[in-house]
Symmetry: C2
C-alpha cells in the first residue's frame, strides 16, 4: 500500500496514537488503513458415501483437486458464502449445511470456515473455475493430487468421524511454513 484510497496522498507506516503497531497512515487526511485477515468459506459436500471434489482450473494449484471454497464476500453469511462457492465451482446447490471445520492460518492472514452439506437432488456440474467435478469414496480420493493441506486434513478427519457418525466442530491453527518462535 503506497497511497491513501480516500484522498490519493501518500501513506507511510506509523504507530498511531493509542495503538501498538505500525499502520499505513495517510500523510494528508490522516486516515488509518487497517489490514485484517480474510475469511475463506467452503463446503464438504457429501453424497452417500462419497465426497464431491473439483479439479482446479485456476492458479494456484491448477489441475489439483479441492473442496469448493473461496473468499467470503461482504453482505453474505459464511454459510451463504460457502454455498455460493459450491455453486460457482461445482454448479451444485448446498443444502443441510452444518459448520464442521475452522482453521486459523496466521502466516497468510486467513481464517477458514467449512460446512458439511448435502447437494440438492444430488446434482452437480462443472463451474468456470473447475476443469472437472467428481464424487469419491474414501479409497478413491486422489490423496496425492489434493490442492491444499487443509483439504487433506479435513477429508481425513471426516472419514474418521463418519465411522461414529459424530461430527464435532473443530478448530486448529495451521502453521505450515511458519518459523518456530526460536527462529524469530
Amino acid at each position: 500500500m503506497k497511497f491513501c484510497n480516500q484522498c490519493g496522498a501518500t501513506v507511510s507506516l506509523q504507530v498511531p496514537v493509542d495503538d501498538d503497531r505500525e499502520r499505513h497512515v495517510c500523510s494528508a487526511c490522516e486516515t488509518i488503513h487497517y489490514l485484517n485477515p480474510k475469511v475463506i468459506v467452503g463446503c464438504l459436500p457429501v453424497v452417500g458415501d462419497r465426497i464431491l471434489l473439483c479439479r482446479r482450473a485456476i492458479e494456484p494449484r491448477y489441475g489439483k483437486w479441492t473442496l469448493p471454497a473461496g473468499f467470503m464476500e461482504n453482505g453474505e453469511s459464511s454459510a451463504e458464502g460457502a454455498a455460493r462457492e459450491t455453486w460457482e465451482e461445482a454448479a451444485a446447490k448446498a443444502i443441510d449445511q452444518a459448520l464442521y471445520r475452522i482453521f486459523d492460518v496466521p502466516h497468510i492472514n486467513q481464517v477458514y470456515l467449512f460446512y458439511r452439506c448435502h447437494l440438492e437432488n444430488n446434482a452437480y456440474g462443472i463451474g468456470p473455475e473447475s476443469l472437472e467435478s467428481a464424487l469419491f469414496t474414501e479409497e478413491e480420493i486422489p490423496w496425492d493430487e489434493l490442492a491444499f493441506p487443509v483439504v487433506r486434513e479435513m477429508l481425513q478427519e471426516y472419514f474418521v468421524d463418519r465411522k461414529t457418525n459424530e461430527f464435532p466442530i473443530r478448530n486448529t491453527v495451521i502453521a505450515y511454513g511458519r518459523k518456530p518462535p526460536t527462529e524469530l
Copy 2:
C-alpha cells in the same frame, strides 16, 4: 474508496472479467480492490460462577458493559487475537481457551469468533479502552446496560449451558436491522 492504494490513480466501480459483482478497479494499473468481511475475536472469561465484563471507555456504546473483543489482526490466530483483546481491555491473561460462539453479522460485514476461557491467577485489571472491569454472577449481570446484542445472547446461552456443563460450539446469523427478503 476513491483512489488506488497501489498507484494513486482514481478507481471506479466495474464488474471485472470473470467476476459477477462490482469491484473498485483502478483506472490506470487495473488493480482490483476487494472488500471482504472482518473478523471480531473475543473471550468470555469465566472465574468460578462469575463472568468478567468491561465497561467501555470508547465509542460506540461508551459506558456500556461488554466482553473483551475487537478486530482480529494480521499474523495472529483467532485464539491469540481473543487473548490479546482480553489483555488490552481487561489486563487479564486468557488461558484454557475453547471456541464457543460464532456469529455471522452480514449487514455489517463481520464474523465473530468467541472463546470461553479462564484467567491466569484469576487476575484482571483495567485496560486503556475500559472504564472499569468486574466479575458478575448471572443475577448480577447488568442486562440492561450491555453494549451489544451478541453479548447478551452469548451470556444467556452460557448460563443455560452451564447448568449441564455442556458447551457446544454454536453458529448463527445475526440479522438485526436487516430488511426481510420480501422488502429487498
